[in-house]
């Protein structure tokens, strides 16, 4: 891996650690696993998938706001904007660092629920997390307060979560298979393995499109460190 990107990722992980993300998610993991066993065994796996999709995978959508706001308020973003860090490296680092912890938590929950498609769970959680984190970063780049962030994430949460919940609990239509969240959920369920290449391709396209929008917004944020709205 290129050294600067690696440094950034290590920096982000260190930051997330200092601000207690790792602690919080250790507690959450424990709590989720306990909660799982409150469900009847028949729907335990489904419940686990919903948990993973709506929390560790969606972590970026909840926490990117505070991460970026810290960087703005401590003016760390200024220091980064006048260093050789590329916009793409900045984005990748955020996405990968959150993706790692999200995936670890996801795998633990899935395993506890008896899901044995661990490789698919890893891929699906990570890719889902990338999508949520990109949305989070997009919003975080635009806002000035945590409240604004919370409000602005609501439509994204609805769009990402509601169709997936419908799908998971039985409302299934073919066109829904284009929804990235539903692809992620199907992958976690280990369904449709024969079409995995197509699903990966679909997720890849989604990620690429969302990344391109995020890139433009983050680039503007870097430039606005100079104080100019472009």
């Amino acid at each position: 891996m290129r050294t600067r990107l690696r440094s950034l990722i290590i920096g982000d992980i260190q930051f997330q650690f200092k601000y207690g993300f790792y602690f919080v998610y250790t507690v959450f993991t424990f709590f989720y696993i306990c909660l799982l066993f409150a469900f009847p065994a028949t729907i335990r796996e489904k419940a686990a998938i919903l948990m993973i999709y709506s929390d560790p995978a969606a972590m970026g959508l909840f926490f990117m706001g505070s991460i970026v706001l810290f960087e703005k308020s401590q003016r760390v973003l200024n220091s980064i904007a006048v260093s050789p860090v590329k916009v793409s490296e900045y984005i990748l680092s955020k996405v990968v660092s959150l993706g790692l912890i999200g995936t670890v938590v996801g795998v633990l929950i899935a395993f506890a629920a008896g899901n044995r498609n661990i490789i698919l769970v890893i891929i699906a959680t990570f890719m889902g997390s990338v999508i949520f984190s990109l949305f989070g970063l997009m919003i975080a780049s635009k806002i000035q307060t945590l409240n604004q962030f919370m409000v602005a994430t609501i439509p994204f949460e609805i769009l990402c979560l509601v169709p997936s919940i419908f799908y998971l609990f039985g409302y299934q239509k073919p066109f829904m298979l284009l929804h990235p969240g539903i692809i992620v959920i199907r992958m976690m369920e280990g369904k449709n393995i024969e079409n995995i290449a197509f699903e990966l391709l679909m997720l890849g396209i989604w990620i690429l499109m969302i990344y391109m929008v995020t890139y433009r917004i983050v680039k503007k944020m870097f430039q606005s460190v100079g104080g100019v709205k472009l």
Binding site: L8, F15, K18, Q74, V76, S83, V225, G226
Partner: protein, 281 residues
């Protein structure tokens, strides 16, 4: 190293930075002086590529700053007006992180800490630092990757005289190593001591630009100030090269009635007031 031509920029529709032209050579310390809100930090942001929608030209290290790529920053060190550090990390962790973003070989971190008197505070978290300590840390952060051009925005503000002295010595050391330095300051004594040339900036324009010595010599004449008693103490002054024409002074000397007499050379601050029509706040 730096060449600015017909530079214009504004945050709003109203013109602000206008008609700026100057050049800075390698190894020079160039000062931006001016009252608060004059546009010094803005000018620095343009030169460091943070503001890109200017017109005219600002060439820094052979690159037009608005067209810079990421390598541009390998050779630029910035000491912002305000601390720009991770508060929850220690000072050492901060430098380690920011240093790791450069491809260049870094300077010895511990030595830098010792140079600014933070040798014993390296492992304290930044939020435990005082204002002056943060300023010093921010300063060495700019030196870490040994850049060719340094932009220092009020580096000595908020420092006690001894720390300020240390910092000025480091700045001079960097100059002697051939580094080019842009220094923004409100402190006229620092400017006169450190800068090879200074630009007086007022309302977004350069009002005067020369060596501190030339500015003092060309703009202000040395004055003779004297006082005498005539019912109450009266203070008068005349230019030193016109003492013969001051008959009152000659009389007083004849009658041995002077209470005090001394010459006073103008300072950079006097010149500033004269050139700009206002004082530094």
């Amino acid at each position: 190293m730096i060449k600015v031509e017909n530079l214009e920029f504004s945050y709003t529709k109203k013109p602000f930075i206008k008609d700026i032209n100057f050049e800075v050579k390698k190894g020079e310390i160039f000062g931006f002086l001016g009252p608060s809100g004059a546009g010094k930090s803005t000018l620095q942001k343009i030169l460091t590529g943070l503001i890109t929608n200017y017109s005219g030209s600002a060439i820094v290290n052979h690159t037009e700053s608005k067209n810079h790529d990421d390598r541009f920053y390998e050779n630029i060190g910035l000491d912002f007006e305000f601390p720009s550090l991770y508060e929850k990390l220690t000072a050492r962790q901060n430098l380690k992180f920011f240093g790791s973003l450069y491809n260049k070989k870094l300077r010895d971190t511990e030595e830098l800490f010792h140079k600014v008197g933070l040798g014993y505070d390296m492992d304290k978290k930044v939020f435990e630092y005082s204002k002056g300590m943060k300023s010093r840390l921010n300063f060495i952060k700019a030196l870490l990757h040994d850049p060719d051009i340094l932009f220092l925005d009020e580096p000595t503000s908020g420092l006690d005289p001894s720390n300020s002295r240390d910092m000025k010595n480091i700045i001079l050391e960097e100059k002697h190593k051939g580094k080019t330095i842009i220094l923004t300051t409100h402190n006229m004594n620092d400017a006169a001591e450190l800068c090879d040339r200074v630009a007086f900036i007022v309302d977004g324009r350069v009002k005067a630009l020369d060596t501190p010595h030339n500015l003092i010599m060309s703009k202000g004449a040395t004055k003779l100030k004297y006082s005498y008693y005539d019912k109450k103490e009266i203070i008068r002054q005349c230019p030193l090269n016109k003492t013969v024409e001051d008959s009152k002074l000659l009389d007083l000397i004849q009658q041995n009635k002077l209470l005090s007499i001394h010459s006073s050379e103008p300072t950079l601050n006097d010149i500033f007031i004269e050139v700009t029509g206002r004082g530094l706040q």
